[in-house]
Point group: C2
Chain length 288, copies 2
């Protein structure tokens, strides 16, 4: 296993499933595509992040394909972050938490992304399962999209809203800190705002960061790890960096004439991204 | 048809589907329950709001039952607001918008609730479909839960964040205003904060309000319509008020020994809620 900060996004945008899978509009085709991506990643990275909206778009069939792929990935030993960005009042949040974080649930994953806008009480059902079942919860903080600043950076008492959000989450973050000091409450902090990521790290020393925006969205490897912490060995740790389009929709992957060539393209792109991130995080060439 | 502000929530919490439907844990039972609720509401109210998380909790089968109920309700002439509170970056928001607001899509509804935390660019794919296909988009503003104040009321330049959010949405609200002056951009504004609702109305004269929190969550009918506008006839209009538990999980409904008695319980509760809201909004007894 070649360890490192890479997390690979499963983002089956329409038109990005190569023709050798039949176009990817049926559940069967989506599953075949997902199986090949999982096979290719095995040994290169340990974490995957399916983008739920792109399965939901395909209706109940797409959700069935997602449930299947999550289950298969976990059976293969991958850690699965369901990127659903759910958020609702307590009684419905309870439903979402049961759907995604309850052992034996149809979409059981290892971690779920959630939206904090509705308030801390709406996060409780997810955090309770993180505590009880060893799951993770990744709370949106500073996202990687151009409009992130609209509300996340609104000034509140001389600070950006996101800083006050992160402050408000510290009690939960500490309560959920595990043996190695990292919390099972994570923060989503985009690679497109490296200085802000470093500021958020200062406010929130124990929360791993889930970093979108590396690669296709414009953030480089150094930007992506800008909010990581320096560990005892001098490496940057305390986060994972997602790449989706940079792995599964490269020119080589899209043009692959058969499954073998597709797997080879995924493997090459994932290895290059993992190496790029390992270098930025200060891993030596042969280290694990 | 007895018109009025009532919207009935379809919130199949575990344990709230009467035994006469078999417990409601299978898709077939959920559908039977939903059919009976729809039959009972016909002639009493025109708008329903399924709570997506409580279907998602039941996995792909639950989502299939939801797709079926949405489609049946629309065929019967109901307006369906899918309460999914989705929110994601542009390319994934596009997926969610296609899932819920695209004509012919598996979950095609008339309106979708969305979360604004990630910024205005993340709302664009929904608003575009509102414009193109005559759909509605209900943006979370001031929610009805106890923790809503955590972030929504954080002070920013002397005002609560939610006021600045509402300001930022005005351009879209005006652009999407229809012939009768109301926008297809709606705001979710809870019945539990009537004074704030009135303030938001001042900031946002053309946006209909979707009001949760009436009944079980503690808001009365007067509170629920506090943010409505006074129309030419002197009535309060410009919003709809959701009731879920107050309609579908009353003691009578839960204890109903058969489908007929269940429908009768739903009908009675919905009529009482519609009358309560009509009175608060200033409808005369026989008016329509």
């Amino acid at each position: 296993m070649r360890d490192g900060p890479l997390c690979v996004g499963f983002d089956p945008h329409p038109g990005t499933i190569p023709a050798c899978f039949g176009g990817g509009e049926s559940a069967t085709e989506l599953k075949r595509w997902g199986h090949c991506v999982l096979d290719a990643l095995s040994g290169i990275c340990t974490i995957i992040k399916p983008q739920v909206g792109l399965f939901e778009m395909r209706g109940p069939e797409g959700m069935e394909a997602l449930a299947h792929l999550i289950s298969r990935a976990r059976d293969m030993g991958f850690i699965v972050i369901a990127d659903a960005k759910r958020g609702d009042v307590g009684s419905t949040a309870e439903g979402y938490a049961r759907a995604w974080l309850e052992p034996g649930a149809p979409f059981e994953s290892d971690c779920l992304t959630v939206n904090p806008y509705m308030g801390r009480d709406t996060l409780a059902p997810y955090l309770e399962r993180a505590d009880r079942h060893g799951k993770g919860v990744a709370v949106l903080a500073r996202t990687s999209n151009p409009g992130a600043a609209d509300f996340q950076l609104m000034e509140s008492r001389g600070r950006p809203l996101v800083a006050r959000l992160v402050d408000a989450l510290q009690e939960d973050a500490h309560r959920l800190a595990g043996e190695r000091g990292w919390s099972s409450l994570m923060l989503v902090v985009g690679a497109t705002a490296p200085h802000e990521a470093a500021d958020i790290r200062t406010l929130s020393p124990a929360t791993p960061f889930l970093v979108p925006g590396y690669g296709a969205q414009g953030g480089g490897a150094r930007d992506a790890v800008a909010g990581f912490a320096i560990d005892a060995s001098g490496r940057k740790s305390g986060g994972i960096v997602n790449s989706s389009r940079g792995i599964t929709t490269t020119g080589e992957a899209l043009a692959a004439p058969d499954w073998d060539r597709f797997r080879a393209a995924i493997l090459a792109a994932a290895r290059a991204a993992q190496d790029d991130l390992r270098q930025a995080a200060g891993y030596g060439p042969g280290e694990n």
